[in-house]
Symmetry: none
Subunit: 211 residues, 4 copies
DNA sequence: TATGAATGAGCGTTCATTCAT
DNA sequence: GATGAATGAACGCTCATTCAT
């Protein structure tokens, strides 16, 4: 955690804010949320404690912004997928790929978001709207799928909730276990389950497994 | 919150511990996690602050045990379901029913566990092993279903993860939104999605929409 | 609180100081003393925080001057009364009238000076010398009265102290209670008490009660 | 400021509170109100900062109690005077004597109450009711005097206000100037002015001064 | 074993003041 | 002179934990 002061003193004002956010992220990663204090953030940023308050009204605002910054790109990417002109199945798969790859690519960045329970909680809190957004997006995809005849006429909302819960949980588990499973494998497995369910169907019975 | 002292003074040590746990639960419900202090717990239990430390090494241990107590019955019930002699589909449905009903019946008790972010996080922490247990149980059910030919030969572990994530998330959402949806409806919807997936099947095509 | 900057930028330095003092007064009235910060004053004056320090060595000096400004006119008016060529009784009454009217006319201005304990204290501090001045002036009036035979040969200094204390206290009380008593009534009552005291006199005895 | 810890550790709980109050008084005297911090009080009392909060909810409560303790005895003594069975003139004189002597005898204790503007302000604030009490008592005395024919039928309330203001101010002035004037002299002078006023009376003219 | 006063590290926050630009 | 970001000492307050009784 090198001193930011020299780097920042002559920077444009905005850069200092970035520096503090980065410092907060560093502290979060290094010490976890419950040991995140303004003093440590300031120290990590190489600035005085009081200076933090020139850029963030209070601790809550700082931590929230750390999280918002981290998740922003994924949200935008999600928006682009939903609004694209592909079929529902493709969109669904793209969405899963986005989630998995985003969390994998930024594992270094998101690790703490899920590993540290305190942070995870805060994220979920702040993400309540984000969660709602995610659900909404999956719902759109399911609606489209149903409309276009690719999906059964299920309750799109419930399906969306289920998928979001399942995906989040799977990602969490992978991060927790440190398992480095190929993303595509996870995606295909989830797609298979989401599309086909676990139940055996009469038609399939004969086709796939015969006797 | 009547004084527990008289009741407990001559009781076996275990009863005192029960009283403290109950007091902690009361405080948690009344004031939320972030206002839970040892002092308040002691006061609610009608004992002295220091006495709490005769039964719990520290605050963390106390709070963890509060949660463990809350979830214990459900865990045992889950064990009985898995070890029963029913079909996988019935076990799966029973399991979902257990989860939903448990959280519904104890809504007053669990509300705070999910509403208060700090508590939720703590619960998830303690539940990491509980989650693992839950996954294991669902995995057993899926294994049974596959073995007995009721389920497709999916990856039982992945399916279990998915279901646990989905169910937890749905319950959380319901608690958060305060929605009082009929349990059976939720269960049936989830069962339908888990068993049948969202994707259209060839066999259905003809049945449902004709050509 | 419009920006003073444009108005003041090209003004003589003195005008800027006036602007800051006025801004400080505005903040004082609007937010009370304990919420008076240099930053708010600067903002109200439409200038930068640092600029305040080009005109006032520190906060203390600024606040003191705000008070001095407020009381200046009354002091000058007091001087004119004492140096006038009237009798002691008339001067005494004029003095009381000045005090009462000054505080009444500027009630909006002085209210906070007395209502807010922190400010009141600060004013009293700064007024210690002002009090001395006031006492001195009343002492002159009493000396004159004694010399010219209008007053008994009392200790002029003690009488002056007494009167100043009494008048200040009465004004304070009125401001505190928010009472809107007619000034003339207060003045006449005080004059009566100062001149005649409360004690019964031989001459009165016969007049008022007969024997 | 000797360590109170040894002395107090074995004392009854109440003694510790006394010790803190005394320590606060010491700090107040030594450093003035605006430098009174909880930390300094704790240090002066030889205890830990947090311990102060075992006896006082917050700083405000502590300081208020310091003041209340200081003035309590005088208030009670005042009550005994008013309720006594003497004439109004005697009661008035006794009251003045009480005030002067109380502040003189406890000069060491009250010095700060008047010398330090911050404290004075706080006292006046807390004393608003005390002031009201003092006024009420003088009013009773004046009422009695008027009823019994010793005083002119003046406005008892106004006279009381005037006297309280005058006496407080005179005492303040003496404390401020450090002047050690004989109390009796001050009392007699005030009594003379209060009873007789400053104005010359026709009847007196001949009697007292002749021509 | 129960007590609860004492502890003391720690926290979030404020704000008068400085100084490089 | 004007600026305002940076400073950093200071403050009131909390509370898990200890320990002498």
């Amino acid at each position: 955690m090198s001193s930011l002061t020299e780097r920042c003193r002559k920077m444009v004002g905005n850069a200092m804010k970035e520096g503090i956010l980065q410092a907060a992220l560093d502290v979060l990663r290094a010490e976890g949320f419950e040991h995140l204090t303004i003093e440590k953030v300031a120290e990590a940023a190489g600035i005085a404690k009081g200076s933090v308050y020139n850029h963030f009204r209070n601790k809550q605002e700082l931590v929230t912004q750390v999280f918002e910054r981290s998740i922003e790109p994924a949200i935008e990417a999600g928006g682009r997928i939903v609004e694209g002109s592909f079929g529902a199945v493709q969109k669904l798969e793209a969405m899963l790929r986005l989630w998995f790859s985003h969390f994998s690519q930024h594992r270094g960045l998101f690790d703490f978001l899920f590993r540290d329970p305190h942070v995870r909680e805060l994220c979920f809190t702040s993400q309540r709207s984000k969660s709602a957004l995610a659900i909404e997006r999956f719902r759109h995809i399911f609606d489209q799928g149903i409309r276009e005849g690719d999906f059964r006429p299920v309750n799109a909302m419930s399906a969306a909730e289920m998928v979001v819960g399942a995906v989040q949980f799977c990602i969490e588990r992978q991060l927790e276990s440190g398992e480095q499973r190929p993303i595509e494998s996870s995606i295909q497995e989830l797609m298979d389950l989401i599309l086909g369910g676990v139940g055996r169907r009469e038609g399939q019975e004969g086709q796939n497994y015969g006797v």
